[in-house]
């Protein structure tokens, strides 16, 4: 059974074999390393770019214009901020030429905290990405979703962000959520598709025969059902919300947990159906909390469900500070952790109108 980084790799393999992907590229993406997180090992179309994010995004756009479906990696989303103009340009190209051109590109980048990455390897990208019109945005929290969402990004004729939560890269699927066709045994899979240590020049991966799996944009997943409160999250904080909900069940609190999976388009139907039932909603993400995508969800909630709410919709997000500090205490205090999430749910459930 794969972890998320292996799932990404298998999706990329399928995409270059069957869906016309011509280039998977970025810094250290090609041999010998195959990506800072090993996500691109063994791919036949993977290559190393110069250390130049503007060139990477620019080349991705150019390749897209030339009809080459491609996946361009920014090694850490923290290093995408000198390319926001190019990303905006990609997002507005189809619109500005009234549909003359489309741009079948995927920008893949690791996001978020959880690996003691300090100031420049812990940032989130969801607020920035959702403020760029013209992109579709996927952000998985399980290996299977990563596999299915990445394939959806790749075959979409439009620019997509594929945001990979660093904290979940080594996490494995829950039983029953395997990728079809993958070996059940972790070690067997590793032997097939993880590059060996040492000399890799003669290594060839053996790809398991995994079929296409397209998880559509705008389709969230209800991870856990509950009657008392709706909790909507994604990425690193999603499994924490699930854990919190499980723990709170012992206290008689039944929280419904929704994994958003794609941020644009997003599954408003599922959120609103749930909130109508529970009357309470907590949004959880870890981007800094001012001008945060969760605030958009709060706004939409009060816009459309105001008179059905029994408590204010809440957002739990990262502190509005310039960075995530390296020391444990600093990281813990900056972005939502299990205890804070549980406490937020508890407080919200207790709140009476």
């Amino acid at each position: 059974m794969s972890n998320m980084v292996q799932a990404v790799r298998m999706a990329l393999h399928v995409a270059e074999e069957r869906h016309g992907v011509t280039d998977v590229f970025g810094e250290d993406v090609g041999p010998p390393l195959g990506g800072a997180f090993t996500a691109t090992q063994g791919l036949k179309t993977a290559w190393n770019s110069p250390l130049d994010e503007r060139g990477i995004v620019g080349a991705s756009i150019g390749l897209g214009l030339a009809g080459c479906r491609n996946v361009a990696e920014i090694q850490f989303c923290d290093y995408a901020y000198n390319t926001i103009d190019l990303l905006k340009l990609a997002g507005l190209m189809c619109w500005t030429c009234v549909g003359d051109w489309n741009l079948p590109i995927t920008i893949m980048t690791p996001v978020g905290s959880g690996i003691r990455g300090s100031v420049y390897h812990s940032q989130s990208f969801d607020a920035t990405a959702t403020h760029i019109p013209g992109f579709k945005i996927a952000i998985p929290s399980t290996p299977r979703d990563a596999y299915g969402l990445l394939l959806t990004c790749i075959v979409d004729p439009n620019p997509c962000f594929f945001l990979v939560p660093k904290a979940l890269m080594r996490v494995r699927s829950a039983p029953g959520e395997e990728i079809p066709g993958e070996p059940a045994d972790e070690k067997a899979l590793s032997k097939m598709i993880d590059a060996p240590l040492g000399d890799r020049s003669k290594w060839q991966p053996q790809w398991p025969d995994t079929p296409d799996l397209f998880i559509p944009f705008g389709e969230a997943r209800t991870v856990r059902q509950g009657r008392d409160i709706t909790v909507v999250s994604y990425a690193r904080t999603l499994p924490l919300c699930t854990k919190a909900a499980e723990a709170l069940a012992a206290e008689g609190i039944e929280a419904e947990v929704i994994d958003l999976r794609s941020l644009w388009p997003y599954d408003w139907a599922r959120i609103s159906e749930s909130v109508r039932r529970t009357g309470r909603v907590l949004y959880v993400n870890e981007d800094t909390e001012v001008t945060n995508f969760g605030e958009h969800l709060v706004r939409r909630t009060v816009d459309e469900l105001f008179f059905e709410l029994v408590a204010p919709p809440k957002l739990l997000a990262g502190a509005h500070v310039p960075g995530i500090g390296l020391a444990d205490n600093l990281e813990m205090a900056t972005v939502p952790q299990l205890p804070t999430i549980a406490e937020s749910i508890r407080t919200l459930v207790r709140m009476q109108p």
């Binding site: 080349a59 214009l65 030339a66 190209m93 500005t96 009234v98 051109w101 004729p157």
Partner: protein
């Protein structure tokens, strides 16, 4: 890949037919820009920007481009002063007027963007965008695809002198010259010695912009872009090099800016810049290829055509406010299967 010396352009004269054709297109280009400026001044459009003064370079460029769709044809990453190139490629000038007047009929942007912002997928003309120099970061992408495809299709990118200060120009040189994959790119800089109000000299430590290419081992040259014969020959040679060697060429063309930066600076004719059309017409007269009367006639004819077009465009509808939500996303993969016939959408008119 062999290190063949750069082909020098043939010394031979261009044929009289070619010169007359170049002249015709130069006049057409100038008249178009003058009409656009007039439209601006009459309130038929909010903003003008264009390339009057660059025709001697831009027309030969357009004539030499292998236009078509897909990797076997040239990809054009242009900036906002390229209308004469577009004319030489064969667009119908009325569409530029439509773009100026932001009508719903504007085939390039549907009234969404400024004049000069062409987009013609079936000819590989990628959407012109306003931010300076970003086209230099994107152009390597189409060139990578062309290099892989083989053949003689190349990528052409154009922009101004001041813009070379942006990191994107460096990105272009870095990516075009990677030993792992040198790219078939004609990298053009039209040097008019100005960036809006900012003069070239105090800002540029490099003697010639083309020297920056040399540092990367890129074939590089600076030419007189005010001379259409020089431009044609040098462009032909540079393109041939790129097409056959599959390696980059940096071409800096010295040009004039005859109506200032844009309507933001008044769009009035300046007096202290050489006018490539004046010089070329004198030469054509001297060589007996065209008479003054013929040339005046040509100009009058284009003027009349554009005047009629202007009247027509004035009557055309503006886009509807509700349309702002159209085309945010594409339903179809139009660029996919590059080299194939595509969806058959073709630019209006011309040549």
């Amino acid at each position: 890949m062999s290190l063949r010396p750069l082909r020098t352009p043939p010394e031979t004269e261009l044929s009289p037919e070619l010169l007359v054709k170049i002249h015709e297109l130069m006049v057409k280009g100038r008249v178009l820009e003058e009409r656009l400026i007039q439209m601006y001044k009459q309130g038929d459009g909010y903003f003008w920007i264009g390339g009057p003064g660059e025709e001697a370079f831009n027309v030969p460029l357009g004539m030499l481009i292998q236009k078509g769709r897909g990797l076997q044809y040239d990809y054009c990453h242009f900036h906002y002063r390229q209308s004469a190139t577009m004319l030489a490629m064969g667009v119908d000038p009325i569409d530029s007027l439509r773009m100026m007047k932001n009508t719903a009929t504007d085939p390039y942007t549907g009234g969404r963007n400024f004049v000069g912002h062409y987009s013609i997928r079936v000819w590989n003309v990628v959407p012109v965008s306003s931010p300076i120099e970003v086209q230099y970061s994107m152009a390597p992408g189409t060139a990578i695809a062309q290099k892989r495809a083989g053949g003689r299709g190349i990528t052409i990118v154009t922009g101004g002198d001041a813009g070379t200060a942006e990191g994107d120009f460096s990105t272009c040189l870095v990516w075009a010259s990677r030993p792992a994959n040198p790219l078939p790119m004609l990298i053009v800089v039209t040097n008019n010695k100005w960036g809006i109000s900012t003069n070239y000299a105090p800002q540029h430590g490099e003697k010639r912009i083309s020297d920056r290419g040399k540092a990367f081992g890129i074939e590089s040259k600076t030419i007189d872009g005010n001379d259409p014969e020089v431009s044609y020959r040098e462009l032909a040679a540079a393109m041939e090099y790129v097409r056959s060697e599959r390696k980059p060429f940096l071409l800096e063309a010295m040009v004039s800016r005859l109506y200032g930066h844009s309507s933001a600076s008044g769009a009035n004719k300046v007096v202290d810049e050489a006018d490539c059309l004046v010089g070329f017409e004198r030469r054509l007269e001297e060589r007996g290829l065209l008479t003054r009367a013929q040339m005046d006639g040509l100009r009058a004819q284009f003027n009349a055509e554009l005047s009629a077009a202007h009247r027509k465009v004035k009557e055309e509808p503006q886009p509807d406010g509700k349309s702002i939500f159209d085309h945010i996303f594409s339903e179809k993969d139009l660029v996919g299967g590059a080299g194939s016939a595509g969806d058959g959408r073709s630019p209006k008119g011309g040549a």
